[in-house]
Amino acid sequence: MIMESRYQRHIQLNEVGSLGQEKIKQAKVLVIGVGGLGCPALQYLAAAGVGTLGMMDPDLVSLSNLQRQILFNENDLGKNKALSAEKHLQKLNSEIQIQAFPFALTHENAEEFISEFDIVIDGTDNFYTRYLISDQCILQDKVMVYGALYKFEGQVSVFNYQDGPSYRCLFPTPPINGEIPNCSDIGVLGMAPGIVGVYQALEAIKVILDLGDLLSGKLLCINLLSHQNTVLDFEKNQNEIDQITKSGKPIPVGNNDCFIDFEVSLEQLSAKEKIKWIDVREQDELPRLNYLNPLGSNVSVDVLMESKQKIIAFCQTGTRSKVFVGKMKRKGIKNCFSLKEGAKQLQEWLKNDRL
């Protein structure tokens, strides 16, 4: 009698077999960004039996995520994405080690967390983090599986595989803020990141198994409307790679389009600091803080551009101010932050600390 095993359908394949399944078990894969790309990638990697599976995301599950981030359900709303993913994946496969990191990848922590893994899957939605992952993967010689999309088109590639090209060989110059919109700016059909994310999981497994042709030195361009898929070859640019290895650490992208670093908490502010506050709420929302700039959506970009003071936008909960600051950043306003807390807490803080 043949005993039914979890990985029977893998093992039946000559290209995988018991040996291949053991390689999958030994593999350590980190998925950075548990969103539209990360969710499907994680599900397949957990199901496949990747022995150590990490997931990193500072964000909370929101209602508009459920349309494509299929690992989550309504019970997860308001909870951290990495921790929610961990909970669901544990139910899917209790035989693997799952590590959830409920915070953002930063220049301070990237070296430490990436060093624990063999392969990094890029499921991010911003260039700031993508270049950080890329540079750290160059420095530590880790394979990076890249996936990204725009509307109905996807891009997939495998970087740093056996001394192959990196993301910087493909796109050496980071785009300027606002040049490349992401899904939350322009919308996306749920299946699009689904397909790209599963492709990333597939390439990761092929790296682990040393199977077939990898997208190393190749950019797969998927068009979901026309079905015209194209594979483009590109070469390694040694100068780009040397620039990183010589520097010895990742080179930050000048235009930070990552929301996480835009947020500031009252605790982080000094009472002495001069701040230009901007209320992005409607006129009838309470409490009114009338002595602050009630500019909101009518704010003049020129006024902000010229401001020498730190600009901090606030609303009731820190959500609308985040969107506002994102827009301002894309217009090139640098010294602009979003308050994590709401108007009520700000009112208290102003009373206690400043007046």
């Binding site: 499921g123 939605d125 725009y150 088109e153 891009q155 110059t173 899904c183 939350s184 361009c221």
Partner: protein, 77 residues
Amino acid sequence: MEIRLRYFGQLQEATGKSEEVLKEAFDTIGSLRNFLIQRYPQLKNRNFKIAQDNKIDMDSSPLNGSLIDLLPPFSGG
């Protein structure tokens, strides 16, 4: 010689086209890039790579392919 151009991602919106055929001759990839920026001012300061016959090439390379792809980086995840 005719060249067929395919625009990817946001470049379709910048040019208003997904494909077009050009009859002009270009020495290098870079001269094609300059021509396109003149023709579509929206492409100015855009970050995109150019591939000929399925190979991404440098602006200094001679243009001898017949299928040209123009690729911006993508963000969203």
